[in-house]
Symmetry: D4
Subunit: 227 residues, 8 copies
Amino acid sequence: MTADDPLEGIAELDLDRGRRRGGYPEAVFCEGKSPEQVLAIARRYAARGEQTTEPVLFTRADEAHARAVLEALPEALHDEQARLLAWPPEPPAAVGELVVVACAGTSDLPVACEAWLTARYLGREAELVVDIGIAGLHRTLARLDLLRSAGCIVVAAGMDGALPGLVAGLVGAPVIAVPTSVGYGAAFNGLAPLLTMLNACAPGVAVVNIDNGYGAGHLAAQITAPR
Amino acid sequence: MTADDPLEGIAELDLDRGRRRGGYPEAVFCEGKSPEQVLAIARRYAARGEQTTEPVLFTRADEAHARAVLEALPEALHDEQARLLAWPPEPPAAVGELVVVACAGTSDLPVACEAWLTARYLGREAELVVDIGIAGLHRTLARLDLLRSAGCIVVAAGMDGALPGLVAGLVGAPVIAVPTSVGYGAAFNGLAPLLTMLNACAPGVAVVNIDNGYGAGHLAAQITAPR
Amino acid sequence: MTADDPLEGIAELDLDRGRRRGGYPEAVFCEGKSPEQVLAIARRYAARGEQTTEPVLFTRADEAHARAVLEALPEALHDEQARLLAWPPEPPAAVGELVVVACAGTSDLPVACEAWLTARYLGREAELVVDIGIAGLHRTLARLDLLRSAGCIVVAAGMDGALPGLVAGLVGAPVIAVPTSVGYGAAFNGLAPLLTMLNACAPGVAVVNIDNGYGAGHLAAQITAPR
Amino acid sequence: MTADDPLEGIAELDLDRGRRRGGYPEAVFCEGKSPEQVLAIARRYAARGEQTTEPVLFTRADEAHARAVLEALPEALHDEQARLLAWPPEPPAAVGELVVVACAGTSDLPVACEAWLTARYLGREAELVVDIGIAGLHRTLARLDLLRSAGCIVVAAGMDGALPGLVAGLVGAPVIAVPTSVGYGAAFNGLAPLLTMLNACAPGVAVVNIDNGYGAGHLAAQITAPR
Amino acid sequence: MTADDPLEGIAELDLDRGRRRGGYPEAVFCEGKSPEQVLAIARRYAARGEQTTEPVLFTRADEAHARAVLEALPEALHDEQARLLAWPPEPPAAVGELVVVACAGTSDLPVACEAWLTARYLGREAELVVDIGIAGLHRTLARLDLLRSAGCIVVAAGMDGALPGLVAGLVGAPVIAVPTSVGYGAAFNGLAPLLTMLNACAPGVAVVNIDNGYGAGHLAAQITAPR
Amino acid sequence: MTADDPLEGIAELDLDRGRRRGGYPEAVFCEGKSPEQVLAIARRYAARGEQTTEPVLFTRADEAHARAVLEALPEALHDEQARLLAWPPEPPAAVGELVVVACAGTSDLPVACEAWLTARYLGREAELVVDIGIAGLHRTLARLDLLRSAGCIVVAAGMDGALPGLVAGLVGAPVIAVPTSVGYGAAFNGLAPLLTMLNACAPGVAVVNIDNGYGAGHLAAQITAPR
Amino acid sequence: MTADDPLEGIAELDLDRGRRRGGYPEAVFCEGKSPEQVLAIARRYAARGEQTTEPVLFTRADEAHARAVLEALPEALHDEQARLLAWPPEPPAAVGELVVVACAGTSDLPVACEAWLTARYLGREAELVVDIGIAGLHRTLARLDLLRSAGCIVVAAGMDGALPGLVAGLVGAPVIAVPTSVGYGAAFNGLAPLLTMLNACAPGVAVVNIDNGYGAGHLAAQITAPR
Amino acid sequence: MTADDPLEGIAELDLDRGRRRGGYPEAVFCEGKSPEQVLAIARRYAARGEQTTEPVLFTRADEAHARAVLEALPEALHDEQARLLAWPPEPPAAVGELVVVACAGTSDLPVACEAWLTARYLGREAELVVDIGIAGLHRTLARLDLLRSAGCIVVAAGMDGALPGLVAGLVGAPVIAVPTSVGYGAAFNGLAPLLTMLNACAPGVAVVNIDNGYGAGHLAAQITAPR
């Protein structure tokens, strides 16, 4: 690196990671980085310019992170609920199978949206289904056709985290379960739904970290990728 | 106590506890007691003789405990699966509302049976429903009429522990959830279903200790008692 | 849904849940929802108008949530200590058996009040008893007659969480134990009283989630419902 | 059920579950069931006879379970290391993409074998790669071509559980991570690798329960199913 | 040490510890030591002979440990329930204030006896009170005079561990609380009563390790020592 | 209670608890109470007036709590570091044995001060020793004479919590160990020193809740009370 | 101490600790101390004046702590990212072997810098390597020559904490692993990488507390000290 | 591999690992391997014959493992207490600095011996010091000269785990702390000493996994290697 490299001592980007791993671009995890660090990173992507159309995602971006990204990449899409920015703002054309992202409660929406947008920006058609929790079984059953049309289903749920197991018992596609930190008391910030999902009675449930909508969307995109 | 009291230094029975608390007789928790201690206790109940028809239950009895009880009370009922002995062997006439005990998997049967027999010996009509876990939703729905006829439902489940919340969303009666230690790995000997049940999205779920079939059956009998 | 549905993509209400589950109306859990989302939901209930007299509860409402509810339902009752709003503001006429809500310490009052109001708005006569913790046994014993007159007792306690077991040893009615996050250090935000209650030596104790006054009140109302 | 049904009061089989969920047959989880219960279940499958060629798997079978299965289905395959029995003994013809099962240490072999056999009996071509742990990086890199040819990779690892994240950073296919209970001390029976895997820095890692080789193999078969 | 010292490379005894710390003799914790190691240690005490009348205690001694101690010190007292051996077998004359050891359930007796014997062999008058658990409040109140006559009370309790807090609210003397591993499920081998005792609402409760009857008895003897 | 009782529905004071338990006055735990509630309680004590000279302590008082107490009891002592108020401000004349409160690090001072003031206001002579942690052994040994002159020693320590065990090995008096939440990372808010203290190798260590300086001081006062 | 000693009742410094332990000067842990306390301590060091050139470090200093230190020692070095101040500002001349501090992600930089500066101020040559996480293996391998030239390597990593084990498998020098609290959800504030590191498959990994960059740098300096 | 390779499908040895990592030979972790697998591995080392004099260690070997090793390598050293076998039986000539292994209690000897033998077989002079626990401070201080002569000190301790921090405050060399699973109750199988050691107040303490004597000895050998 030269002395005036703005990322000197901060981070080494992995600009051709998409090519090496077969088409999945890098995401910048903003939490724990200063806005200045995020700005320096975003500028590096801005400098890539026309060399590539591969999208970059900025995840877990708070307001200050978002301002930093938008300073360098003013046309980036910013979804506040999902705390996600994407650049270029237009998602790629959808290929592969359908990803359905289902959401147990309204409070799980931020995580579900992160998964949904991630899948979309990684090139999949993606649908978001709201509020089909296990306490109202009729709501889940009403969406069975949609669920069964998916190549992969992401289910985000907090509290008892029972929805992914219920869904997995009704479909043949793999279910990516995302525990959320929604809940209180013995939910222990997502530990309860995490354990529920790891112990799902129905086979076909794979689990990612608590609140990890990005990881779930990424996995769903991999699973439904065109062959 | 006189010097020849066989329980001297071991335990003080509570023979009229049934009267004081309003009709719920004592149970002898055998685990952690030596067979000799259990024998001494059983003999005391045998000595009660005709004074009362109130049943006594011996719970969590292993084979040695059971032999000790049967030595003192040879006509006692012994259910090996539930690890429970009851004396007198005939349950009282059923009064109050129906108790339904539902069981997520075959491995949960010992706990479910303990709850079922407890409710029955405390004077309730009680039904046992087997293997209606959340992974096979059609099985649960097929029993909906029975579930809705109960004054209280006990649901025993290990692994993901999701069944009580599912049932509670379908009925108006209170659900007593019993987490079981069935499962492995991240089930953590019943911790996972315990947390799931405490976080059940549907209201109407109350939880007892892991594997506590006796406590669940007792509560169900209290809830469905004639008024 | 039509394009101008204000709940589009937020939540699906369950307006006739009361009928399906046998008389227990829905509650809106505000925590984790934005004030805008709560406002949209409250407006939907406002639009129900004269169709029903079934109450709706808004639980765990902070100040912003409360303002949102009151904007849509200006006549709703708002109990700040319990963080609860109820609409219509008049509770239904009381039927069934008496619910007693007991409270170990002053700091447990918010949870106890939530349980008490929930039971009252679900149609029960309900009494609140303050500050009868185990460290002052005489206080508990002084209320024994009231406790024994209840069809169900809710006991909220933090720290050592010992009160529910003490009460259950003195009465014949079922006890719903609510651990609270009151305490510090090894109380671990309610974990200590939760474990105490799950291990209560006296039978007749059922446990709900930490700080879950709503769930406790709901269960108490179910248990004491007229038959 | 008729009175002489040998499964009366034990379990309700789900014989056409394969059809309902789209081709994935049932597995019988033996742990926690008595040999008599397993025998009764195996006989029911034996009675299916020529109606179907769909395989059934008996998982977590100890010696007594295995004898019970073999009494009813004497031609079943029995892999002692994987504690798995399969019937019919011939796996179906392989369709879909390749599944690679990788194994960090010799002690992880039982779990890896369970995953490998499950994928194979659910109709996939499957390869088992032994002993490519992170402490000997050259071993992992030597298998990179095989790993990159898979449609899905299962990685079983105990102790530090770092291998799945390493592999996921090198390939484009989804990685199913199986923590194993191999290790001691602060491995806490698999908790350490479970947490490692949930926190894998590389996207593309989904986690199943500790020692859940069956679940991992099932998921891998779903992900690589022919479209 | 000389080459033929039987403790060479095993342990260094602390024979005059009693003098240095002011009168409390050493105890040999047998668990984790081989019978041969315990034998070598006991022989060293035997060799002390007439030099001292200070007692030595061997705690947590299983059958093999006990045989080893009795081989070297054939006249030692052996209490199997408390897993304790004492030599010389006669406890010293009692001085100081009374120690009362109370015991919540029959299963807690081994721990309570260890505390009781320890206090007695460290020179205190000591009384053992059996089975006064919180679920039967009348039993506790019946012993109030004895409890109030003590200079220190040791309370051993498993499961909910609520008894020490109840006792501490009724007396002025300090209470040493010993959680026991009695219980199951969410008792988590003594964790539940440990937390309960640490959070006791009444002041005056100090806690020792789970099942640490020796430590409790030792503390009680220190607290009640003559001044 | 009459309708204008300012504590109506808030708390029942226990004004003669001192007499019932033998001389230890009540403390008001402020955390979790509103300033208004604390004010109402303080006014009740103010109204006691000349009836008694028994002190009352207000513990864990933040600034708002302190203002409330001082509004009702303007002459009360307020120690900000200990978050404690005492009224009357003059501690009683010292009787009984000496209490020494030792403190591992500067950050442990608030807890140590709470213990020290509590012992002092409960009528003991009390000394505070600062900064004698295990990492600087010479500091501890330099205070050995003072430590050995105490009737009871309170030791507050965070992080590794090793000091109480070290002290207990050097003295004959009982040691009350107070884990503090000082530390970071694997100190887990006091869990690490709590476990250390419960497992102290030296006998004579009793443990109270994390940061519970009040409880430690109270116990020390009980142990050193005049006989 | 004299009555006007500004540290009276706060702390006892250990000014010649460097000599006693063989050359490693004291560090002042600021967290949990008030700015006033830190100021008093810094003034004491300022008063040492010319007596010594041994450096002192102030660690975990927030802004207020830093201002206090700089008031007393205005020429001290202040590294905000590492939250560390050093005085005198010039590090000593480097002796002994090279210390390399490696850092898995940008968010781990504060901890890595604390380790790096500590090693430097304790007299070692030290290099900082940024962003060589396991998910991008090529980055790690590119630095192999530097890593192999070190006498000790410090590796800071959050989330899965896998990097230290990877490095230890590639070099012969000891690796000091520092788990960081970077991450979310099941990272549990550093617990996940802590467990990973304790279970590293490669020998040669020693672990310090979560976020304990100071401790890691100190150990590295000890290990690489000139002999 | 050829078809008759006895390790086919079991493990890939790393025979020249010593050379690659700079002189530290491989160890075979026996736990979790079948005796047959261990035999096959031992035979491979036997076949190495005269090519190398580099030792191989077999760790955590139970009796069956030991028999298997001795069948292939009959002259191997077998230390039953340390559960370790070494081949060739003669340790290499000692080079580098002295390693001292200290042991808090007799029950910690197996772990301490494993560390001691490992350091010795990796080419260091090594001394074992027994029973210098913190409860008997005079024992520790009596060994101070030996401790200060070491280039690295390994300290094994269970229960409160306080010894490593005490030692580190007295010496300038790095201390490798090994928590052991010795203890009961709140020792939680080594969790308590693990946390204590991670939070040691004295700098200079690095921690390895519970009971990991091998890892500690390996690190000590690395740290004291000749330069």
